[in-house]
């Protein structure tokens, strides 16, 4: 049975290597390199994507489980909140090496959709992605800034 799902609104159908994690399908089969490989066991969050709007670690879900699901990757960010997160990341100039940041941005944009005005404690609880360079101070600032950009009426 082929498995059908969408990635950034585009329909995909797969019928082989169904035990392959979504991460490698995104990176190697359809050449979306923005989703990163960090640990392969769901610990670091570099591979975070949106699965039906929720932040999920794509190294830990296999293609076989994706029938009928909607996937969004960093390349597909487009709505007001998502753009605000990217803009805030730029204004605060969050990155050092930058490798983990697409996962951080995916986690942050999912957070801000569920919780438009997160407190530091909310951020601590939800943002569990590892930044090996330790840019946490700026990630936290950028999430608050993105919240303001997305939701504050100017």
């Amino acid at each position: 049975m082929p498995i059908s799902f969408t990635v950034n609104g585009v329909a995909h159908q797969v019928n082989e290597q169904l035990d392959m994690p979504l991460l490698w399908y995104l990176r190697d089969s359809i050449n979306l390199k923005g989703t990163k490989f960090g640990c392969g066991i769901g610990q670091c969050g570099a591979c975070t994507i949106h699965l039906n709007g929720h932040a999920v670690r794509s190294c830990s879900i296999t293609l076989s489980s994706l029938d009928g699901q909607q996937i969004k990757t960093i390349e597909g960010l487009s709505d007001r909140v998502e753009k605000a997160v990217q803009q805030a990341w730029k204004e605060i100039d969050v990155p050092q090496c930058g490798y983990c940041q697409s996962g951080q941005i995916m986690a942050a944009s999912a957070l801000l959709k569920q919780n438009p005005k997160p407190t530091d404690e909310d951020i601590n609880n939800v943002m569990t992605n590892i930044c090996r360079c330790g840019t946490y101070v700026r990630i936290r600032k950028a999430i608050h800034q993105a919240s303001a950009l997305a939701y504050d009426v100017s």
Binding site: W24, A46, G134, V137
Partner: protein, 727 residues
């Protein structure tokens, strides 16, 4: 200055008009990687378009230290460019023959030891100034006037007498045909800087926030295959026997290749023994690897463990063996006899994992005695030399495409992944992309040194330090004994001991500095408390009057007690050091000099609530000479210190039975958002000293600052890392 001037002149002769090019219509479509630029008439560093936009090829690649941005700034500043018109790509790797392989033809592309700013400071500014001078010459020809009437600003040349201006873009075509200026190049006075001192944003920011391909792991070559390697987990171990039948039956697997271990003459592992699986895609290679059946021979280090190594170091430190004496000044024996009080304590730092967040990878294609390699590496000449050696070709026939790196921290100095990919490329007539897993990265690390340090400090009856004896055991690497308090205490002795071991060690972010600073800055805190003295006051008294001392270690020629003292003062001021905290809350101070840069931090710990103690504030001050990009200096102060806190709290690569035990983030916890306090403030001390690096210096003070804060909050002294915050 004189040396780099000569280097630049040689560039002028050999590079010719390559310094500056014009009209490259495809440029707008190129990515930030140089992959797509090969074969084009690309200039070494600088391209000025007719529309006045500028593309700078930045020579030193980024691993998070921000040098891709800083390098481009150095060129743009002296070019007098409008930074808003500048975009930045990765420079190609230009090599020439050296006595032992290849070296850089132009700028030094290496990054490590916080040297990239120092080594490129003169060279890249001169490149920018040369281009500016040629644009002025072109403008003088254009207006038929004397060059002395012309000035530049914001990517334009101005003619004072007629108030005319012309853009660099309009002049570039003519300028690129002119001879290189001879005579002295005039570099800008500090007062004329327009870009240095500004908060400049990361040049790759748009690519990073949109997930565009930037890193080695994101790269591809046409028709490439994938490889993974199951390596012997035991240090210097071997394959006793193996069966790859099940592997070869996995759909997509092409072949397996046995990799023989290579141990260098000094006993350090170059590559581990293993079986590689080459497949049509990564996942097939991983499945093939899982299906391998291998019997390992444990090798000579099967009894080695983190604890056995620490025991060896401790035995030396507590014994009478002199070891390798590194400093012996004054009369240490007499000074301890004369001391009214002697503190004698030991400090331990475990083996440190690198955990570069982008696991290692390399794509190698060998064809007709030529090689092309795409990889993220801190030392591209080392890549060229290693590929040449293992492919048995001329290193000038190795094209190295150096990408952005997902972390380096010294680990991307080693060549193991480059050599493995080269060996595999010899086995198949296609480009091979070797990919490491996280488990590979953690189990095949070259760890930061574990150290056992015994410090004895002797005080006279006024409480003044008159004797200091530092004894330290470790596997390899430097001690950093040239740092303070050396030259501040009259009788001073440093002995070191190196334990031969199978555990591979290497460079870890400011190698040796963190281990040194943890011991020394903890002991200084103990001395202050033993004296009933405020730790800040004690540090400042010890440092004494501002004075430049000679420094015979790596990365600096002098060490300045005044600059160090000012960092302590500024960090303390930022932390409101003199405002007494409530009982149960404590401030800890620590500072250190790393490779020419001074940094100090104050940490606040709150132990009042039930449960673990909390880090509630961090305040830091840095003196890195002239601050080039305050935004990125602050970013390094934040991230570098947090990496140091990760060492204080978590980083602990565990060896048992001659192999690594904790090989992923489930077993090796790592610092995360909830460990990072909301209050984190940084101040940059401004001065006119030449700029120095900022990638490593913020890291070393962290463990001692935290341990000292815990002491201030609870009275509990911690001398062994990692620290548990459970009170």
């Amino acid at each position: 200055m004189e040396i780099s001037r000569r280097r630049f002149l040689s560039l002028s002769v050999s590079a010719g008009a390559m310094l500056m090019t014009i009209n490259m219509p495809t440029l707008a479509k190129t990515t930030k990687q140089n992959t797509d630029l090969s074969g084009q008439n690309w200039s070494v560093y600088l391209h000025i378009n007719p529309d006045n936009s500028i593309v700078i090829a930045s020579p030193v690649q980024d691993m998070g230290q921000h040098m891709k941005t800083t390098g481009a700034m150095m060129i743009a500043e002296e070019l007098d460019a409008d930074w808003s018109l500048v975009s930045c790509i990765a420079a190609k790797t230009y090599l020439e023959k050296s006595t032992d392989g290849v070296k850089y033809k132009y700028a030094d592309m290496n990054t490590g030891g916080s040297h990239a700013v120092r080594r490129n400071w003169d060279f890249l500014r001169q490149a920018g100034a040369t281009a500016r001078q040629m644009l002025i010459s072109a403008a003088a020809l254009h207006w038929q006037c004397s060059q002395s009437q012309l000035t530049t600003a914001q990517s334009h040349v101005y003619r004072k007498s007629t108030k005319q201006k012309i853009s660099y873009g309009e002049l570039a075509a003519k300028a690129s045909t002119l001879p290189f200026p001879d005579g002295e190049l005039k570099l800008k006075d500090k007062a004329d800087y327009k870009i240095f001192g500004q908060d400049i944003t990361t040049v790759d920011i748009d690519e990073i926030i949109t997930g565009a391909p930037l890193f080695g792991l994101d790269m591809e070559m046409p028709d490439m295959v994938y490889a993974v390697i199951e390596r012997c987990p035991y240090f210097h171990g071997e394959i006793k026997s193996f069966d790859d039948k099940k592997t070869l039956a996995v759909t997509g697997v092409i072949k397996t290749v046995k990799i023989d271990k290579v141990i260098e003459s000094d006993g350090i592992k170059e590559i581990a023994e293993g079986i590689a699986v080459i497949a049509k895609n990564y996942w097939a290679a991983v499945q093939g690897r899982k299906a391998l059946e291998i019997n390992w021979q444990q090798g000579p280090w099967a009894n080695e463990s983190s604890q056995s190594l620490m025991n060896d170091f401790e035995k030396f430190c507590l014994g009478d063996d002199e070891g390798e004496n590194r400093i012996n000044e004054g009369d240490i024996t007499q000074a301890f006899k004369d001391s009214k009080q002697v503190l004698d304590q030991c400090y331990q730092v475990p083996l440190l994992a690198h955990a570069c967040i982008e696991p290692f990878n390399a794509i190698v294609h060998l064809q007709d005695k030529k090689a092309k390699i795409i990889t993220g590496h801190q030392f591209p000449t080392r890549v060229a030399n290693a590929v040449a050696q293992y492919a048995n070709i001329d290193p000038l026939n190795v094209e190295v495409i150096a990408t952005r790196m997902g972390g380096g921290f010294g680990r991307r100095y080693n060549n193991d992944f480059v050599i493995e990919a080269t060996l595999l490329a010899k086995e198949i007539d296609k480009p091979v992309k070797l990919v490491w897993t996280r488990e590979d990265e953690m189990s095949q690390d070259y760890f930061g040194q574990s150290t056992f340090t015994r410090l004895r400090a002797g005080l006279d009856k006024q409480g003044k330090l008159i004797a200091w004896h530092h004894r330290q055991g470790q596997i390899d690497g430097g001690l950093r004994e040239q740092c303070f308090p050396y030259q501040l205490i009259e009788n001073f002795k440093v002995d070191s001991y190196y334990q031969k071991a199978g555990t591979p060690t290497g460079a870890w972010r400011g190698p040796g500095h963190l281990q040194f600073a943890f011991a020394v800055e903890s002991m200084l805190d103990e001395v202050a408390h033993a004296n009933n003295q405020d730790p800040l006051t004690h540090r400042l008294e010890l440092l004494g009057d501002a004075k430049e001392y000679s420094y015979r270690g790596y990365g600096a020629k002098v060490i300045d007690s005044g600059r160090m003292a000012e960092c302590y003062r500024q960090a303390a001021k930022l932390a409101n050091w003199s405002n007494k905290r409530p009982k149960g809350v404590g401030l800890g101070l620590a500072g250190h000099f790393t490779f020419g840069t001074y940094a100090a931090f104050v940490v606040e710990v709150d132990s009042r609530a039930e449960g673990p103690m909390q880090i509630t504030g961090i305040w830091g001050a840095i003196d890195c000479g002239l601050p080039l990009n305050p935004n990125h200096i602050r970013n390094q102060m934040e991230g570098g210190f947090i990496d140091g806190l990760n060492v204080a709290l978590f980083n602990d690569a565990e060896i048992s039975g001659g192999r690594v035990v904790n090989d992923n983030f489930d077993q090796q916890p790592w610092i995360r958002m909830f460990d990072t306090p909301a209050t984190f403030e940084v101040t940059i001390i401004k001065n006119d000293h030449p700029p120095t690096g900022v990638g490593e210096p913020p890291t070393a003070p962290a463990p001692a600052a935290l341990a000292n804060a815990i002491y201030a909050a609870t009275g509990k002294r911690i001398r062994k890392l990692p620290i548990s915050m459970e009170s």
